[in-house]
Structures are given as structure tokens and as C-alpha cells.
Assembly symmetry: C2
Homo-oligomer: 309 residues x 2
């Protein structure tokens, strides 16, 4: 294979009470990437979207990932990449992770699957480092593995797939800017032990709820007493969206990654659609532009697509 096209999916990091350790892949939105193997040790990038991201490989998320793959291959090959991003940078939906993970998986497909998924996470983390200054894996991992991932530890890397029931996910991306670095900076470095205990009760409940397919338990456990109270201040309309979505029958939800996108989980499409209506109403009234998605959990991770798809 000399050429491959992949779909790389949006992801929701943190999953309410799972700050920095949980992530989930979505079926929409997704990026498309077409990667070709070259005989020369170089990375050539072509952006096929309107986002104007750098095409210099050392300043591009997919670029640095592919450069790190090149390095591990002792510079005997190169890659030509066309990127058509559909996940907006800065949305809180894992846009940089999709570039990084898509590049790593595509490269591996071209090289005959010589790397493990864990290797790919390690390559892709170089992209996250460029994007946010930190090697984090809570978007990359679900993007590569699909489903819900627990990243118990990064050094050493410890990834656990959490089999989650098929849930509907409603997402709103209000068109405001929340920088990941700002969202991180406003967090307190110290927290109350009693809040931490409540949080780890919730995380234990959420994981158990996923594994036992106990929807009431999932719903009760979707509570974040530490991060959300601080970060939600940066997202106009957050409290109202959350309250009204719960009234509309969603299991629960919160900030996607560091925001500004907000997501809600539902058992059925009806509640998921109702949540979308709530989101549209709130942001129309406030006067902030938005995109919404009603989608499901992606269970496969980055995947090859045939031309024409």
C-alpha cells in the first residue's frame, strides 16, 4: 500500500468526573486524511480545509507526529499528507488529537502495521505536545482505540479500554474561544480532600455503570465537583444548557475537554434530539453562533476509508 485515506474522529476528554484520565470517541465530526508514502525522508503537508493551519511540518500537529515516525524508521521514508479537517481547532472536541492520531494510524497502515496501538499513542502524543505544551493522551487514546478509554498513567503508559454501552451523544460547540492553556491555568493546584473523595466515588460509579450497563448509575455518577465549577464560568449558557438537557431526559454531561463544547449522553435518540433543541434555543437566545451534533459513541477508532467515501 502506498496511499491510504483515513477518518479520524472527534473525542470528548475528561467525561465529567474523569478529568485527565477518561476519553470517548464520537462518530461525528471527523477529519479526513490522505497519506502517501515517499522515498525521501521528508514530510509534505497540504491543507484542504479553511482553517489555515501551518503547513510547515515542525509546526503542524500531524507533521510532528510523522517526523517522529520518520525518526524511528531512521529517515528511510517520507510522507505526503492531505488534511481535510472538519473538527474545528479550539472546539474542545480533540481537533489536534484527530490530526495526531490520524497521522500515526495512517503511517502505520502504510508501513504494514509494524507498530502497536500503544506505540501509535506515543507517536501521537508528540502532536499534543506541540498543540498544548503537554503530552496528554485522553483524546488520542479513544481516537485510536475507539470507545471509552481509561488512561491510568502516561509515564509509564497504561491504557485500559472500558466497554461502554451504545449511547447517544449530543454536542454543542458555541463559537467562543477557550484556550486549553487558560482553561488549565484557572484550575486550583490544591483541592479539598473531601471533594476528591466525592470525585473518586463518582469515577468509580461511572466506570462501574459503563461496565454493568447500569444507566441510572451512569447518570448519578456524571457529576464533577472539582473542574466543572471552575471551568464552566468560561462557557456562557453552560448551567442553563445542562439543567434543561437533564430536564429533557439526558443521562448527564458536561464540558468536552477544556471546552467550549458541551456534550450530553442519552440512552435514546429522542432525548439526544431534545438536548440539541435545548442547546440551539439557549445559544440562539444568548446570541452566540454554534454548531451541534447528534451522534453516537464511535467504537472502532481511526479507520481506513475507500476513495469516494
Amino acid at each position: 500500500m502506498e496511499r491510504v485515506k483515513v477518518k479520524s474522529y472527534a473525542t470528548v476528554a475528561n467525561l465529567v468526573c474523569g478529568f485527565d484520565i477518561l476519553g470517548m470517541a464520537l462518530n461525528e465530526p471527523y477529519d479526513l486524511m490522505e497519506v502517501q508514502l515517499l522515498n525521501e525522508p521528508k514530510v509534505v503537508l497540504h491543507n484542504k480545509d479553511q482553517f489555515g493551519l501551518p503547513e510547515d511540518p515542525e509546526n503542524n500537529v500531524a507533521g510532528v507526529v510523522l517526523l517522529s515516525v520518520l525518526e524511528s524508521m531512521k529517515h528511510k521514508i517520507g510522507f505526503d499528507v492531505e488534511i481535510q479537517k472538519q473538527i474545528k481547532p479550539g472546539s474542545g472536541l480533540g481537533s489536534s488529537a484527530a490530526s495526531a492520531a490520524g497521522a500515526a494510524v495512517a503511517a502505520n497502515l502504510l508501513l504494514g502495521n509494524i507498530f502497536s496501538k500503544e506505540d501509535l499513542v506515543r507517536f501521537a502524543m508528540n502532536g499534543e505536545k506541540l498543540a498544548s505544551g503537554v503530552k496528554h493522551a485522553d483524546n488520542i487514546t479513544p481516537c485510536i482505540y475507539g470507545g471509552v478509554s481509561l488512561i491510568r498513567s502516561i509515564f509509564p503508559l497504561d491504557i485500559v479500554s472500558i466497554p461502554a454501552p451504545d449511547l447517544f451523544v449530543t454536542v454543542v460547540h458555541p463559537q467562543i474561544e477557550v484556550k486549553t492553556s487558560d482553561a488549565r491555568q484557572i484550575l486550583r493546584k490544591q483541592i479539598l480532600l473531601k471533594d476528591a473523595i466525592r470525585q473518586w466515588g463518582n469515577i468509580a460509579g461511572l466506570v462501574t455503570g459503563f461496565l454493568k450497563k447500569d444507566f441510572d448509575l451512569i447518570s448519578r455518577s456524571l457529576e464533577d465537583v472539582i473542574i466543572e465549577p471552575v471551568r464552566s464560568i468560561l462557557i456562557p449558557g453552560f448551567d442553563e444548557v445542562k439543567r434543561k438537557c437533564k430536564e429533557a431526559g439526558v443521562l448527564g454531561g458536561g464540558i468536552s475537554g477544556s471546552g467550549p463544547s458541551v456534550f450530553m449522553l442519552s440512552r435514546d435518540r429522542l432525548a439526544a434530539s431534545e438536548a440539541e433543541n435545548v442547546m440551539k434555543d439557549v445559544y440562539t437566545r444568548i446570541g452566540i453562533g454554534y454548531n451541534t451534533y447528534v451522534t453516537t459513541i464511535n467504537q472502532k477508532g481511526v479507520e481506513m476509508v475507500k476513495d469516494g467515501q
Copy 2:
């Protein structure tokens, strides 16, 4: 039924990374309680052991639990109780919880099972309040339900049974005194967010490991970066016992409740016995008296026994 005899089991609260939210029942040691229904609204206690606990019901853990049952029954009945404790008070093995839970379950059996298990936890928490000043449920719940319990929240009460694989448990109770109130007081009220994140990664890993019967994951997740580093200082020999038990093949372990007992989980009896040898060696050398137990997870909770058992 006018008379009932129950076994009420020792429990391990906290389970390393699950401070204040997880607990596990053991098959040994256990208390024996014999309870008789009376027509008069009073609670009469008889201690059949050497511990010299108060027989005044208002100052006895089982007593206050039964008084609260009486109150809910509008004082139309009473109980006569013989208690033969085998779980030493102050061992960190849920001695007060065994009294409280045993009393609640025995009363319910005599009353024809009119209360739910959750009701029994609520009654039994009155006993924990007397013993430690706080209504906590992380010993009572596994004592009543058996197995491993998650107490996601106390107000409102939210109990989740975590199906755990059959594991061996080795326990050493060094004969030193660690008061629960002291063990609680030395904890910092504030903790670092980064430590909390590591802890909730571990708790998510432990619960997932139990549910997926992934023994390596259980082992990796049996890590406590918040409570153990502080409390283990109160337990001579702790670090050595833990290190040598891991070398001997246990999955992991830590302080039982607030100590001084230390427990280790193993997949097989051989590792569990090796751990017992380690414990005996260390405390013999240090010159501190001890009891050890090599047992398994109790999966049933407090249960009725026939006379003669």
C-alpha cells in the same frame, strides 16, 4: 422466629486507592451474635468475650443500632443480645461495623425481613457514629452485602456492589494502637490536584480490574498516593511488609481501614501464605505481637448460623 444467631464478618475499608468509598468483606475473622426478640421495649446486652465493651446499650455499638430499630418500630419490641466478638476492637478490620451490621441484620431476621439492605446500612451507621463520631458506611456496607462495595455517596445513600473475583486475602494485625480519630486527624485537608488525578486513575483501574477480572490491572491500580504515605508512618514495619509481600507474589495491598492491620490480595493460596510468612518474620523481628489471617473475600455478608456452628 424468636431467636437468631449470626456470623458478622471482618471488613477491609478503603482498599488502597478507594479511601472512604470502597470496602470488602472477609471470611475471617468474624463475630458471633445471638439475638432474641423481647416483648418489652428494651435492649439487653451480654458480652461473651474478653474485650470488656460497655453493656449499657446507649454506649454499645450494637446497642445503639438496636435502639434505633426499636425507635422505628415505635418501641413495641425489644432485643436481648449475646455478643461473642472475635474481631478485636481497634484492629482496623471493621470490629465496630461487625457489631453494628450483625445487630441490624439479626434484628431484621427476627422481624421477618421487613427492612431492605439499605435500611440496615442506615440503622448500622448509628453504631459507627458512636464508635468513631462519623456516620461512615465503608465497613458496614460490605459487612451486610458481602463482596466489594462502592459507597458512592452517603447522603443520599448510594451503594453499588462491585463483582470481584475470588481473591485470597492475607491480613496481619500488629498489636499496636492506632485510633481512627488520630488516623483521620493526620490527613491533610487539602491535596494536590495532580495526586488526586493519579488516585482517580487508580480507582477507575481497580474497579475495572475487578469487573473484568484483569489481575494485572488490579495489581497496577493498588496504589495510594494520598492516604498511605501519611498513615503508614503510624504502622511500624509497613513499608517492609508491603515490599516483601509484593516480592512474594501478592497483587498488592495496604492499610486496612485506618490501620494498624495491613492486608494483601493474592490470586492463589501460595502467594497468600508466603505473605503471611513475611508478616510473621517482620513483626517477630521488630518485636511487636501480631495475629495473622489467610482468608478469602466473603461474598454473602452477615448470615444466619445454626446452633452449634
